[in-house]
Symmetry: C2
Subunit: 228 residues, 2 copies
Amino acid sequence: MSERFYHPSPPHDGRARLEGDEARHLARVLRAKPGDGVTLFDGRGNAWTARVASVGRDVVDLDVGEALPANDPPRSSVTIAVALPKGDRQKWLVEKLAELGVEALVPLVTARGVAEATDSARARLERGVIEACKQCGRDRLMTIGAAATLPETIAAAASGTTILLADPAGEPLETPAAGAALVLVGPEGGFTPEEIAVATAAGARRVRLARHVLRIETAAIAAAARLA
Amino acid sequence: MSERFYHPSPPHDGRARLEGDEARHLARVLRAKPGDGVTLFDGRGNAWTARVASVGRDVVDLDVGEALPANDPPRSSVTIAVALPKGDRQKWLVEKLAELGVEALVPLVTARGVAEATDSARARLERGVIEACKQCGRDRLMTIGAAATLPETIAAAASGTTILLADPAGEPLETPAAGAALVLVGPEGGFTPEEIAVATAAGARRVRLARHVLRIETAAIAAAARLA
């Protein structure tokens, strides 16, 4: 697999221009030279072969070649709505969920949550998604949703979606659900009884993902590994 | 769940003494006072309630109370043999595998591996296991095995163990195996064809854990989430 670069708009007349982080990665980290081969992906499932045409100070121009075959479509559409953990754990969470094929991450606003999904936090998460997709060969970006409460998140789910709430006191998750799934992962202190009541009233099933108490990011990643 | 402390030997005459990291955590980080309640676990599946009797400079003496009911026995015994990733990813790997209930981690010696399981690396991993077990309520430590090659690792597996080799070109892992499982996870550059031949000749099944190329630690954690 050649090095992959994210270019959100389709190539125009067989050309594409990398700017910002992507140009710096190719020009400065990888010290690209005209003629070097790379892969371009648009984050919506399309990818192309390309060659470096010229390297500028902050831009790299590419000659775009043939379209590459599409990635496998997802087995199921999994959204993980999670009370964001702090610091490095957030970065890690996003990397792993993107690698595992999760379709969307929604930062969940909860009573006991500790990390806010500010605009800068969301921008950082989105950059993490791009990095992971470059690395793991994923052509369709994982979406970072707007921060939302439990009722908002559940209301936004398509009808027929299986809704699971990660809960150490729930039933073991024995059979992965087919089709669309929404997994709700609470903060370190857990969901409040009121939050659990709201979710179960809306049809969420309380499921236990392991025998021990999982950290936020471990629960989210374990659910992704089982369902995505 | 009260704060948990690791004390590898059984209490003697209703007393136990914490030293080293465990004493420092209780005395300095948590600023324990006589009478404070904690939980002790021995890393072999036993746990007790305890109260702080006295706090010294580098030791904390405890009065040990009743034995606590044993954790659920594992659903299956899962060993993850993995070519260690570098740096922080190693620390994450160990924390997550311990949380998810993996029985043993074996550092795998491979042709393309980059991180060596030196004594100091193994000691660091073992400390990581203790931290994770304190945090997630696990009373039996995950074992960190001695570094081993693929043939050594496979030869050490109990007969009847399901042997799986993580491989992006393998079959999807649809049905988690029941009983004992050994999962082989290669280095960033992958197992060599010779290594794959050795493992499959010994009965290993090549399985794909996700649609994309997973990093070492993601593959190991995904396998643990599916099997442990």
